[in-house]
C-alpha cells in the first residue's frame, strides 16, 4: 500500500467486467459523466453507442476512401490514355486513339479497387493494427472479451486517474469484477 505510486506508474489502467452490452453502455455513460477522458470499452460485438459516448468523434475513413477512389480513377484513366495514345498507339478500325468511352471500364474497376483497399488498410492502420501486444491482454479475464463479456478500462494516463478511486468507482457501476491492468 505504501508503494502505491510505483504500482500505478506500471499500470495501464483499471478494467471492469460486465455481463451485457447494456450494462457496459450504462457504465460508460456514468464514467464519462464523472469527467474521465481516457476511457476505452471492449465488446465482443459492435455497439454503435459506445463510440458516441466515449470518443464522440467519427472516423475520417470515408474521406480517405473518397481520396483512394479518385486516385484509382485517375490512375486507370491516365494509364490507358498514356498506353493507347502516347506510348503504343494502334489504329483499330479508324477510331480515335483517345476514345475515352472505352477507357471507362478499367477506370471504374480501379476506382473500386483503390477504394476497397483504402477502406480495409485504412481501417486497420487507423486502429493501430497490426499490433501484437497491448496491455489489456495481460488481464486473464480479457480473453472473454471476444466471447461473451464486456469490458471498460479507465486508463492511467487520465488526468483524473487514481487507482483506488477508479476501482471503487467502477465497482459502483455494477461491474462483475474490477482488475488492474499491468502496463
Amino acid at each position: 500500500m505504501a508503494h502505491a505510486p510505483e504500482t500505478s506508474s506500471a499500470l495501464h489502467g483499471v478494467m471492469a467486467e460486465f455481463d451485457s452490452g447494456q450494462a457496459l453502455v450504462d457504465a460508460a455513460r456514468q464514467t464519462m459523466a464523472q469527467g474521465f477522458t481516457r476511457v476505452e470499452a471492449y465488446s465482443p460485438v459492435p455497439i454503435e453507442e459506445l463510440n458516441d459516448i466515449i470518443h464522440k468523434k467519427r472516423t475520417v475513413l470515408p474521406k480517405l476512401v473518397l481520396g483512394g477512389g479518385l486516385t484509382g480513377m485517375a490512375t486507370g484513366f491516365v494509364l490507358q490514355y498514356w498506353a493507347s495514345v502516347i506510348e503504343y498507339p494502334m489504329n483499330v478500325g479508324g477510331r480515335p486513339q483517345a476514345s475515352w468511352t472505352t477507357f471507362i471500364v478499367p477506370s471504374y474497376e480501379l476506382t473500386i479497387l483503390f477504394s476497397a483497399l483504402t477502406a480495409a488498410i485504412g481501417m486497420a492502420l487507423l486502429s493501430g493494427l497490426p499490433q501484437p501486444y497491448h496491455p489489456v491482454f495481460n488481464v486473464e479475464r480479457f480473453s472473454m472479451a471476444s466471447s461473451d463479456k464486456f469490458f471498460l478500462v479507465i486508463e492511467s494516463t487520465d488526468p483524473k486517474f487514481d487507482q483506488r478511486a477508479a476501482t471503487e468507482f467502477l465497482k459502483g457501476t455494477g461491474a462483475k469484477g474490477v482488475y488492474d491492468v499491468a502496463e
Partner: protein
C-alpha cells in the same frame, strides 16, 4: 399466426453457445471421417486438374477440342460458369447487407469463401488458354516490358482482366476483414500455442475496442457499398466479351442484365448445394435455419424467372431483328445439332424451376439439394448453348463445323470442381464457417436501449 416467420436463428442460443458451436470446428483436433472421405475424392479431382494442366503446358492447347470455327469452348464456358457462381457470395455479403437483411449473416461467410474459390477456378481457364501462362503477365496486365508492348484497352477482353482481378482482390479483402474479429475469438479460445499464434497473427491483434468497432463498421459498410456495383459490373463486363462482337446470338443489348441474373441464379444454386449438406453434417440447423433455405430458394426462383425472360427475349429479338443470320442462329439452337442442350437447359431453367413456387418444395431440403445441382447443370448448359451454337454455324456455311470436347477438356473441368471442393473443405475445417460476431448481434444480449 400465419404471418409469423421462422426466426433467423432458432431460440436457445446465447453468446457462449454461438461461439462454441462455430469455433469448436476449427479448434478441435478431430478430423471427422466423412470430411476425410470427401476431401480424398476432392483431392483426386484436384490431382486430375494438375495432370490436365501439366500436360497442356507440355503439349500445347491443341489438346482441347476447340478449333475453328468454335475457337472458344470449354475454356470460356467454364470461366463464365465459375465466375457466375461466385456472384451469389458477394450478393449475400454486400447487397443483402445494404438492405439490412439479417438472415444473410449465417450464410455470408461461407458464401464469400465460395466466391473466392470459384474465382480461382474461373481464372485457371483463360490463363491456361493463353497456352503459356508464365507469359500471360504482359498479355493481360499493363506492365512495362522490354518489348514495349501494352494491352489493347479498347478490347472487352482487357476490361475483363481488370474486372475479374478487381473482383478477386476485393472479395478476398472483404472476406478477410469480416474474419478479423472471429480470428480474435479463435485466438482467445485456442488451447494449443501454435493455433493461438496463428490465429493471433491473423487477427492482427484485434481487441474489439469501441474505436476499433466504429472504424470496422464504417469500413464494412463502405466495402459493401463498393462490392455492390462491382459485382454487377463483373458479369456485365463478362457479357461484353460476347455482346461487343458481331456474332449472331452474342450481339445483344440484353446480355449484361441477363448475365448478371444468370450469375446470381447459379450462385444461389451453388450456395444451396453447399449449405444443405454442410448444415446437416455439422449440425448447424439452429444457425442455418429453414428460413435461410426458403429465402435462398425464393431468390433462385426470382432470378431464374429473369433468366427465363432472357431466353424469351433472345428468341424474340432473333425473330424481330428480321436478320436472316439471327433467325438462323435461333433455329440452329432449337433444332440444330446441339438442340439437346437447348431443350435440356429450357427444361431445367424454365420448367423445373417453377416447382419453387410451392413452399413444400422450398422446405424439402433433399429435393432442393437435387434441384440446385440441376440448376448448376442448367446454367452450365446455358453457357454451352450461347458459346457453341453461335460459333459452330455463323455467316458462311462453308465455314461451319462441329465442336466436340476432348477428354482433356473434361479432365480440366472436373478437375476444377475437385479443386473447388478441396479448398472449400479446408475452409470448413480451419476457418470459422459462420460469422461468429455477426450472428451474436442478432441476440438480445447485444441489444442496447437508447438513452432515456
Amino acid at each position: 399466426m400465419a404471418l409469423q416467420e421462422t426466426p433467423v436463428i432458432l431460440p436457445g442460443h446465447d453468446f457462449e453457445t454461438v461461439t462454441e458451436t462455430i469455433a469448436e470446428i476449427p479448434l478441435s483436433r478431430r478430423f471427422p471421417l466423412g470430411w476425410i472421405g470427401i476431401i480424398l475424392v476432392a483431392l483426386a479431382g484436384a490431382g486430375l486438374l494438375q495432370m490436365a494442366l501439366g500436360y497442356l503446358v507440355l503439349k500445347g492447347i491443341g489438346l482441347w477440342g476447340n478449333n475453328a470455327p468454335v475457337g472458344w469452348a470449354f475454356d470460356i464456358i467454364n470461366f463464365v460458369w465459375w465466375i457466375g457462381i461466385g456472384h451469389a457470395g458477394t450478393l449475400i455479403s454486400a447487397i443483402l447487407l445494404l438492405f439490412k437483411q439479417q438472415w444473410r449473416m449465417s450464410i455470408s461467410r461461407f458464401a464469400e469463401a465460395m466466391t473466392i474459390f470459384a474465382v480461382i477456378c474461373a481464372a485457371i481457364f483463360p490463363i491456361f488458354h493463353t497456352g503459356r501462362p508464365w507469359l500471360a503477365a504482359y498479355w493481360l496486365f499493363p506492365y512495362p516490358n522490354t518489348m514495349g508492348l501494352w494491352p489493347q484497352f479498347k478490347s472487352p477482353l482487357i476490361w475483363d482482366v481488370f474486372a475479374v482481378s478487381t473482383y478477386a482482390t476485393v472479395s478476398v479483402v472483404f472476406w478477410y476483414v469480416g474474419l478479423i474479429p472471429d480470428f480474435a475469438t479463435m485466438r482467445d479460445r485456442a488451447v494449443s500455442r501454435v493455433k493461438a499464434i496463428v490465429f493471433g497473427t491473423l487477427s492482427l491483434g484485434w481487441r474489439g475496442s469501441a474505436r476499433h468497432w466504429h472504424r470496422y463498421e464504417v469500413a464494412t459498410l463502405i466495402l459493401a457499398g463498393l462490392s455492390t456495383p462491382l459485382v454487377l459490373s463483373v458479369h456485365t463486363v463478362v457479357s461484353f466479351d460476347f455482346a461487343v462482337s458481331v456474332i449472331p446470338g452474342w450481339h445483344a443489348t440484353i446480355f449484361p442484365p441477363y448475365f448478371v441474373a444468370g450469375a446470381i441464379y447459379s450462385g444461389f444454386a451453388m450456395v444451396l448445394s453447399l449449405a444443405i449438406p454442410v448444415r446437416r453434417f455439422y449440425g448447424m440447423e439452429s444457425l442455418i435455419t429453414m428460413r435461410h433455405i426458403d429465402n435462398m430458394a425464393k431468390i433462385m426462383l426470382a432470378t431464374g424467372l429473369m433468366v427465363g425472360y432472357g431466353y424469351a427475349m433472345e428468341a424474340f429479338f432473333a425473330w424481330y431483328s428480321a436478320s436472316p443470320h439471327e433467325r438462323f442462329m435461333m433455329w440452329n439452337r432449337m433444332f440444330g445439332p446441339y438442340a439437346w442442350s437447348y431443350w435440356a437447359l429450357i427444361s431445367i431453367n424454365v420448367v423445373m424451376i417453377q416447382l419453387l413456387w410451392f413452399k413444400r418444395v422450398r422446405t424439402n431440403t433433399t429435393l432442393l439439394f437435387v434441384m440446385s445441382l440441376f440448376v448448376n447443370v442448367g446454367m452450365w448448359l446455358e453457357r454451352f448453348v450461347i458459346i457453341v451454337t453461335s460459333l459452330n454455324r455463323d455467316f458462311v456455311p462453308s465455314s461451319w463445323g462441329m465442336y466436340y470436347p476432348t477428354r482433356w477438356d473434361f479432365m480440366t473441368f472436373f478437375g476444377t470442381i475437385g479443386l473447388f471442393l478441396t479448398l472449400f473443405l479446408l475452409f470448413l475445417r480451419f476457418v470459422p464457417m459462420i460469422s461468429i460476431f455477426e450472428v451474436k448481434t442478432l441476440l438480445p444480449q447485444a441489444k442496447v436501449k437508447a438513452e432515456h
